[in-house]
Symmetry: C2
Subunit: 347 residues, 2 copies
Amino acid sequence: MIKAISYAGYDAKSPLSSYEFNRRNVGDNDVHLEVQYCGVCHSDIHTVRNEWGGAQYPLVPGHEIVGIVKNIGANVKRHKIGDIVGVGCMVGSCGHCECCHIHLEQFCENGCTLTYNGIDEDGSVTKGGYSDNIVVNEKFVLKVPTNLQLPNVAPLLCAGITTYSPLKHWKVGKGHKVGVIGLGGLGHMAVKLANSFGANVVVFTTSTHKKEDALKMGAHEVVLSRNADEMEDHANSFDFIIDTVSAPHDVAAYMALLKHDATLCMVGASPTPHQIASSSLIFGRKSLSGSLIGGIAETQEMLDFCGKHNITCDVEVIPIQKINEAYERILKSDVKYRFVIDMNSLK
Amino acid sequence: MIKAISYAGYDAKSPLSSYEFNRRNVGDNDVHLEVQYCGVCHSDIHTVRNEWGGAQYPLVPGHEIVGIVKNIGANVKRHKIGDIVGVGCMVGSCGHCECCHIHLEQFCENGCTLTYNGIDEDGSVTKGGYSDNIVVNEKFVLKVPTNLQLPNVAPLLCAGITTYSPLKHWKVGKGHKVGVIGLGGLGHMAVKLANSFGANVVVFTTSTHKKEDALKMGAHEVVLSRNADEMEDHANSFDFIIDTVSAPHDVAAYMALLKHDATLCMVGASPTPHQIASSSLIFGRKSLSGSLIGGIAETQEMLDFCGKHNITCDVEVIPIQKINEAYERILKSDVKYRFVIDMNSLK
C-alpha cells in the first residue's frame, strides 16, 4: 500500500482537516502520480457537505488534478516517469457499454467511477486530489502540454472540459453569436474557449464589476441580465447559449434570446427545477439541453487545444491550510476565477 | 368582393353560429377555393374562446382545409381550376427574412399570417376554413394527392405536418425507438408516420382503452404512463420522444426514458410551465425541444409522402351544425381521432 496525506471532510458540517490513508499499490495498468496542484470545484463543497447525498467519510475531494508521474505499472504505455499529467472527474468506467465505446465515459451505462466518493476497482471509496499522491488507471490519466503554467492547468480538467465539450458538440465556430451565462469558474473558461473558436461572445452577468474582466478574457459584449431592455435587445439572436449558473435563475428569459433551431445548454446544476413553458421551445424549434464534463479522448483534445492556443484558467493559488476559507469565499462568488491548491503545502 | 358563408364565434363564450362576410377578390397571385372539408383542431377552441388572447370577433376558425380550385389569378402557375388543394395554418409570410428563405415560414421573423385571426395582406382579419370558400396566395396552397380520401386528408394540414416535421428534423428512421406521448389527433398521426419511417413505436397513454387502436395504427408497444414499473422498464432507451399532450403533465418522467443525446420534442402547448431539473438534461446530454407545424415546402413533402404511403387521419365527419357539440367532445378527449366538418352542410 502507498501512504497518502490529504485534507478530508470527516462529516457534513466540520471544516476539512488533515487525514492520512493508504492508496492501492500501483497495478500493471496504473500510473502513480505526485499531485502538484488541485483545483477547487463547487462540486467539492456540495459533495463533502453531503448536499447531493451519499457522502462517505472521511471524504477527500478534488478532481482537477495536475501532477508528476512517479511510477508506472508494467503495462503502461501512454505515460512515463517524470511526465506532467492530469486527472479529472473520472478514474474508471466499464469500458464495454455503448457510451464507453463512443468515448462518452462520463455517461457509462454501468456508472463511471468518480475521482472521489466513487467506488474504485478494488471496492474501496475513491479519494481525490486534495492529497499528495494518487494511483489511477492509465486510461484516465491525461497528458498536460508542457508550455502551460501548472496551477492554471488544473481547473481545465473539470471547468475546461465542461465548457469545451458542449461548445464543440454544438459546433460553435466563426461568426456564431454565443452567450455565456455567469462569469465564474466555468463561465470564464467558456468565454476564453468560445472566443478562441471564433465566436462573437456575449456574457450575461448580474455583477457590473465583472464587465472589465469579461472583456479582457475575450467577451465582445457584456449584458446585465437584470436589465430587461438590454436583454430585449438580444431577442432571437443567439446561435448558442451556455448556462454556467448553478444557483436558481430564470432560464426562460434566455430561451427568448435564442434564434430558431438554437440551443441553450446547461452545465451548472441548479438545486431547484427550472420552469419552462412549452411555447418557449415550440416557437423557433428551440432546445434546452445539458452537458456533463466530456469523455477522456475529448478531455485530451481540449488540453492539447489549450496548449496550442495558450488558454488556461485564471486562478488564485492557496495552501491546503486555507481550504475552508476558500470554500466560504466560493459560496460568496468571491474568487477570480478558481482556487487551486498548491499541494506542496501538505509537506 | 366574394360572398362567404361560415360559422363564427361572436365572443369568447357563446356557441359558434352562422355568419356571412366578404372575402377579397381573387388577386393575380391568389387561388380561390371552394372548401370541401375542414378539420377541427384544439387550437380552434383556444382561439375562439380567447384562451390565448387577441381574439378578434366575429372569428371564423379552421386551418385544416381541403377544397377544389374554383378560380385563379392571372399569375398563378402552381394550381389550376378543378385541382384538389389544401390550406394549413398559414396563408402568408414576409418572404424575405432568414426563416422564409430557408423554408421555415412558420417562424417568419416578421410574423407569418395565420389562416384565421391573423392580419391579411389587405389589413383585414383572416377568416378560416369553417366557411364555404377561401382566397389564398398560391404559395400557401398545397397540392393534395388524388388517391386519398378528402375528409381524412384535411387534418394532415395541421396534425399531419405538426408530427411529420419533428420526426424528419430529428431524423427518425429504421431501427430507432420512438415514443409518442398521447394518442389524440396529433398522437395518432405521429404513430402512423413514425411507423412508416421504420421506427419501433411505443405509445404512452393514460387510457387503457386506446391500446388496441394504437397497435392497429402501427404502435409496437403501449405503455400506461401511470404505471411506474412499466415506465422504469424503458429507462434510458428512447432515441426520440414526441410529446403531443397539451394538458399539464410530468415531462421530467419522460426525460428519464431518453438515451444519451436524445431529444424529447413537445408539439402540444401546455397552459402551465413544465418543471425541468437541470440534472435530467445534464446526465446523458439530453434535449428538451419543441416544434411548430412545418414550412410550406415540407407540408407539400408530407402530403406527397402520405399519398405515396396511403397515410391519412382517422376522422369523424360532422356537419357544421354539430360544431359546438364537437368542441365539448374534444375537451373530453372523446373523438377518434379528429373531427372534420363536411362543408357541404353549410349549403
